[in-house]
């Protein structure tokens, strides 16, 4: 019964991981950029949330209403300046520049905001739960986060397939030159994709640090980026539903690892996810749903 509970908790966590990863997947799909600062941007979003809560006194869980648009606008400008400049110079430059950005963000946060851990207050609602049987207890907020994550993936799918901007994003992703000949400003489209990516990562950051974990400046590089990339690789690049599948696999595997490790080996949680990731890379390099040949 304890294993059933682990799997359920893993699925709940997996929805959040998918939300983390979908921005990374979108940026890779559209711009062929793996943003190594992805995890740090989630941490930045969490600090922005703290600032928003301090200034406006809105309840913690609702801070995303302001944080998501702030981060989305930031993402647009980040794309139009730094990332655009580096991606015009090649894949390796993009990797090095986003890695540098990641380290610089982490160091700036450490310098100005100290290494202290924080949490986003989620009130009494954060601990409210309902039980099935004697061993399974499901938090309401966990469930809501899973529903939100799936809804965001659905909306994103719908947006990409139906809306005008979504069609432009797909056109630019398929063939940048041809889309530009047809009148699309690909830099602006890239900016929109980056704004969506950072909006989702901000939402995921607020939810994750409100619900599951404390945050400090170092958690972005060490953990979140690796989680997001593991989800994308396990699920297969370029597929939003693959991302959801990857998130759930990672969440369940981590919960099982945590159960095996117990209190004596808390790092088994991360180790289990990482070993599954490496196994997928070796055995199934295109992921669970991978049909595209990846670089």
């Amino acid at each position: 019964m304890i294993w059933v509970n682990d799997i359920i908790q893993g699925i709940l966590l997996g929805g959040l991981y998918a939300l983390f990863a979908c921005g990374l997947s979108l940026m890779f799909g559209v711009m062929k950029v793996i943003n190594l600062a992805h995890g740090d941007l989630a941490v930045v979003a969490a600090y922005v949330a703290l600032g928003v809560i301090a200034l406006t006194h809105i309840p913690g869980v609702w801070s995303f209403v302001l944080v998501v648009p702030i981060m989305a606008v930031g993402g647009y400008f980040l794309q139009r300046t730094l990332i655009q400049a580096s991606l015009e110079r090649g894949t390796i430059t993009t990797l090095l520049v986003t890695f540098g950005l990641s380290i610089v963000i982490e160091t700036v946060l450490l310098q100005f905001l100290s290494a202290n851990s924080h949490g986003i207050p989620d009130g009494s609602f954060g601990t409210a739960s309902f039980s099935i049987g004697s061993q399974i207890s499901i938090g309401w907020l966990d469930l809501i986060i899973l529903v939100v994550a799936v809804t965001v993936l659905l909306v994103l799918q719908f947006y990409l397939s139906r809306s005008r901007n979504g069609r432009l994003i797909r056109a630019v992703a398929d063939d940048r030159e041809a889309a530009q000949l047809a009148g699309a400003d690909y830099r602006h489209i890239f900016g929109i994709a980056a704004a969506i990516a950072l909006g989702t990562v901000a939402l995921a950051g607020v939810a994750y640090f409100g619900m599951y974990s404390q945050f400090d400046p170092t958690i972005g590089t060490g953990q979140l980026l690796l989680y997001a990339f593991e989800v994308v690789v396990i699920g297969g690049l370029g597929s939003l539903w693959g991302t959801l599948a990857g998130g759930i696999v990672l969440g369940v595997v981590q919960q099982i690892g945590a159960q095996i490790g117990g209190a004596a080996h808390p790092d088994y949680q991360f180790l289990a996810g990482q070993l599954v990731f490496l196994a997928v890379l070796v055995v199934l390099p295109q992921g669970l749903t991978g049909i595209r040949r990846t670089a």
């Binding site: 890779f28 793996i34 190594l36 730094l82 400049a85 580096s86 110079r89 090649g90 894949t91 390796i92 430059t93 990797l95 090095l96 520049v97 890695f99 540098g100 950005l101 380290i103 610089v104 160091t107 700036v108 450490l110 310098q111 590089t221 060490g222 980026l225 690796l226 990339f229 593991e230 690789v233 080996h265 790092d267 991360f270 180790l271 990482q274 070993l275 990731f277 490496l278 890379l281 070796v282 390099p285 990846t294 670089a295």
Partner: protein
């Protein structure tokens, strides 16, 4: 070059022996070698002249130079952007501890730790060999954190809290400092020599080709995978040596320190600022790194922020780094690894230069441009990114 070649080939139907002489350098390199020998000799004598504060700073500079040179071989030549070299730094550091625990002198343990690190590198390469760019970067990072998790779970190595080397160091403080310095200098010279010989040898041509375009290098018949594996293992050995030196110089080994991704950040920043894709670049980058560190050292972590911002700017606007700017401006190569083609008409008397085929010489074009010597291998697609 290819257009000139094909046009000339059209004029001359049969392929005749090329009328060129191939050298590795524009000028004689004897004086460079002499300066290098003198410099190493002076550096080796330094512990007798300066206080231990200076030599222990230089040990850190040498460690960064070793790491940056290794990362440069990986990313600058073999096309493998690793963010996981801290895994080998940690393996090297902990290997010294294990050998010391079994009664081996730490300075004997140093080369053994490098060997261990290289051996660990072989299965890691097998795991990563098909991955490139971001996949390679993040997968190497994940491997490093798996290695960290395994090593720091061993209780005889102090688990996560770390372990001291002090019980195994039977030297006076002064002597320990001096021997550590000489060991660091030795590993640095060996690392630079290894990188230089690797690039001068048969594999160097493949590596330079991979630096410019891996797919083209493969389709031209280069044994890319084999050379990449060699470079990966050499980089594992070098970073293991850097980690072992780190353990000896800090006397204390802690997993969260030696396995920290900030080692990768340091080697990447130093290499990019100094100049990726040249042997000189990482050396200069490590010096700049410590100049900035010493200048801004009193202002917390600002030095690291400044270095990161400079590295990003250099990666975008001056892709071959500071050394690239200097080398292009003044046409200097301290470590010549390219080829120069000289038309026979300009040939100096044969006694001064050994003629004959150099291993791995590219097939020169039937007619080299007549007027001036054309730098061939070095200049081909030199913007290595």
């Amino acid at each position: 070059m290819s257009t000139t070649g094909s046009r000339a080939a059209a004029l001359v139907p049969a392929f005749t022996a090329p009328d060129v002489r191939v050298t590795r350098s524009r000028r004689s390199t004897v004086w460079v070698a002499a300066v290098a020998v003198v410099l190493v000799a002076v550096l080796a004598y330094l512990p007798y002249l300066v206080y231990s504060g200076t030599t222990s700073l230089l040990v850190n500079v040498f460690i960064l130079m070793i790491m940056a040179s290794m990362w440069n071989l990986l990313a600058g030549y073999a096309g493998l952007v690793s963010v996981g070299q801290q895994g080998f730094v940690g393996i090297g550091a902990y290997a010294v501890v294990v050998f010391a625990q079994h009664g081996v002198d730490v300075f004997v343990a140093l080369p053994l730790a490098m060997l261990v690190s290289g051996i660990v590198g072989i299965p890691v390469w097998w795991l990563l060999r098909r991955l490139r760019t971001a996949y390679f970067a993040i997968a190497s990072w994940v491997v490093a954190s798996v290695l960290a998790a395994i090593v720091t779970s061993i209780s005889s190595l102090g688990s996560g809290t770390g372990i001291s080397l002090l019980p195994y160091l039977n030297f006076s403080a002064t002597l320990l400092g001096a021997i550590t310095y000489w060991a660091a200098l030795t590993v640095l010279v060996a690392a630079l020599a290894a990188g230089y010989l690797l690039l001068r040898g048969r594999g160097g041509l493949v590596l330079t080709a991979v630096r410019d375009d891996e797919i083209a290098a493969r389709s031209a018949g280069g044994r890319v995978g084999r050379v990449q594996r060699l470079v990966f293992v050499v980089a594992a050995i070098g970073c293991g040596g850097a980690g072992a030196l780190l353990a000896i110089s800090q006397i204390f080994v802690q997993g969260s320190n030696v396995f920290n991704v900030s080692w990768s950040a340091e080697m990447i920043f130093a290499t990019i600022i100094g100049g990726i894709g040249s042997i000189e670049g990482p050396i200069i980058g490590a010096i700049i790194y410590y100049v900035i560190y010493e200048t801004l050292g009193n202002y917390g972590t600002w030095y690291f922020i400044v270095l990161g911002v400079i590295a990003m700017a250099v990666a975008i606007w001056a892709r071959r780094g500071l050394w690239g700017l200097v080398a292009d401006r003044f046409n200097i190569r301290i470590f010549p690894v390219g080829y120069y083609l000289w038309p026979r008409a300009d040939m100096v008397p044969a006694a001064s230069v050994p003629p004959g085929p150099v291993p791995g010489t590219p097939v020169p074009p039937p007619a080299a441009p007549a007027a001036s010597p054309s730098p061939a291998g070095e200049e081909l697609g030199a913007d290595g990114g």
